[in-house]
Symmetry: C2
Subunit: 316 residues, 2 copies
């Protein structure tokens, strides 16, 4: 047996996960719900798995990557908007202090989103995000943002799909932003992406039908908004949910309150060497209440440092 480690490795669907209790719990859940005739068997149509994105599928430090996109867009658009020099949150962004820009809270964020995420057609917006993802680099690793994804989570997505699960993103991030890269990066098609949603308007521009992004919120897909988004977009309770912050508490709660077998996964960022270490005092991705509730709710807490052999694909 020890003479053929390659063959053994090839058969392991989660090679970047260390062989410990966390991996065992995941493997056992997938095995039991797909065992035909078993008491925990779930027919394929019920195998719905939902994943948070920021901090669960890709990194979120030092700030949410979608915010970096918005900030870069403001800089790019600034020449056409001389008035931004005296208007927050734009003024601080243009002075190189995005942190201060965001001190304005939700109103500041909405102004930033309205300026950079609305007015154009859906296709124009997605092209703009795709182009940005080609050229932008993460300040710490100098990697593309789509390379800042977690290798163990890519393997988990693949393992679930190989076992008949439909994998979804359910993110507080913008649905159109996510749809620009979810298929290529995660193998998750646009119709399986749920995210915060701005209203859209249908119009004819030069006789061509287009959808135009509007500055009005249809759904904030965070906290209570996650089960609402799942209910609205998917219409079926998931049996597997993964998140990393208190924004995912209600999604995990809803998922694991179902009558049949279910799995709640909380990714705990404990790895200051390979990634970041943060939880209840972090402004981005705060994990406090959900971590406290995990034991009684039976959620599996993934300890990034202890449970993952590899964090990012580029480490391999």
């Amino acid at each position: 047996l020890v003479a053929c480690p390659v063959a053994v490795k090839a058969a392991d669907p989660l090679p970047s996960w260390k062989d410990n209790g966390t991996k065992d719990a995941i493997m056992e859940f997938v095995a039991k719900v797909t065992r035909e005739g078993g008491k925990d068997y779930l027919p394929p149509e019920q195998r719905i798995a939902t994943f948070d994105n920021d901090g669960t599928l890709w990194a979120e430090k030092p700030i949410y990557f979608q915010l970096v996109y918005a900030v870069d867009k403001v800089r790019e658009m600034a020449p056409e908007h001389p008035e931004w020099k005296d208007q927050e949150p734009f003024a601080s962004i243009l002075k190189g202090d995005p942190q201060k820009a965001l001190e304005g809270g939700k109103p500041a964020l909405m102004k930033l989103m309205a300026a950079t995420h609305t007015g154009m057609t859906g296709e124009e917006f997605r092209s703009s995000v795709s182009e940005w993802l080609e050229t932008a680099r993460h300040p710490k690793t100098k990697k593309r943002y789509t390379e800042m994804v977690y290798q163990p989570m890519l393997e988990l997505l693949r393992h679930l799909r190989a076992n008949g699960f439909k994998t979804y993103i359910v993110s507080g991030g913008g649905i159109d932003f996510l749809r620009a890269f979810s298929e290529e990066t995660y193998g998750i098609p646009p119709e399986q992406v749920v995210g915060s949603t701005l209203k859209a308007g249908y119009e004819l521009r030069d006789g061509t039908p287009v959808l135009v992004k509007q500055a009005e919120v249809a759904l904030i897909d965070d906290k209570e908004g996650k089960p609402v988004g799942i209910y609205q977009y998917i219409g079926r309770r998931p049996v597997f949910a993964a998140g990393n912050s208190d924004g995912d508490l209600q999604m995990l709660e809803y998922t694991t309150a179902g009558a049949g077998p279910s799995f709640g996964l909380l990714l705990h960022h404990t790895d200051s060497g390979r990634e970041w270490a943060y939880d209840r005092h972090s402004a981005v991705g705060r994990l406090d209440k959900a971590l406290k509730q995990a034991p009684e709710k039976g959620w599996t807490v993934v300890d990034m440092q202890d449970d993952w052999r590899v964090v990012f694909p580029f480490e391999k």
Copy 2:
């Protein structure tokens, strides 16, 4: 060849469609977009087909079936609401005149929807619809409403799916109402149903997480709302769209304005014998502008009387 008609029949995926130009157009479209290496080939992920429901997948006369549900609910709930005797639209419904009740237009309709479609959890609502569908009967045919579906359209849905299409409902009807029967009746799972949507709230009832239907509109999935719903829920332009009224004009317009091959289908109700005959003067399912635009837009108009061997499954 004439000696084995059974074998020939078995090979025909659309046996309830007459062998004429309409059927040829459908068959040829599916063949060309699935022919690998052909100039019109579409990879499977682009094979999105959207179907209107009322008047396209099931009948809609004398009134929308969902309205019959609402009217029946009002009658059932009336003992707990003595005040309805003096309040429209309830008073007219209770006097047996639902037509008059609906003369109040959108405000009357919203009152009716709020009373019968909100306040309960999503699961309670779906159970209520399922129970109603078991017992209610169509006033003309005395059949269940889920038997009032069009056999040729069921075959078309199956033929598209057999060729790698993802089939969706995109209906002006309520998304939760549709999801109560779409999987069993059409083979369309809840996550592939787009419909008019009321907002929902997430709460804990006796410690159990539930979604509660609210009396606030999130999406009216009709006319311009159809491409908006497609954009929001699916995030990808369909290549096949089927409808039967002016409410589907924008969905067909959006679908067939794509760069690649596409198919627009308009079902024209011309069969007063087996079903109903109506178009531009009908209050329910009015078809006027879309029918006029069909030739220039290249949409295929299905003539129910001329193109269908069978209308309902129970005729067979």
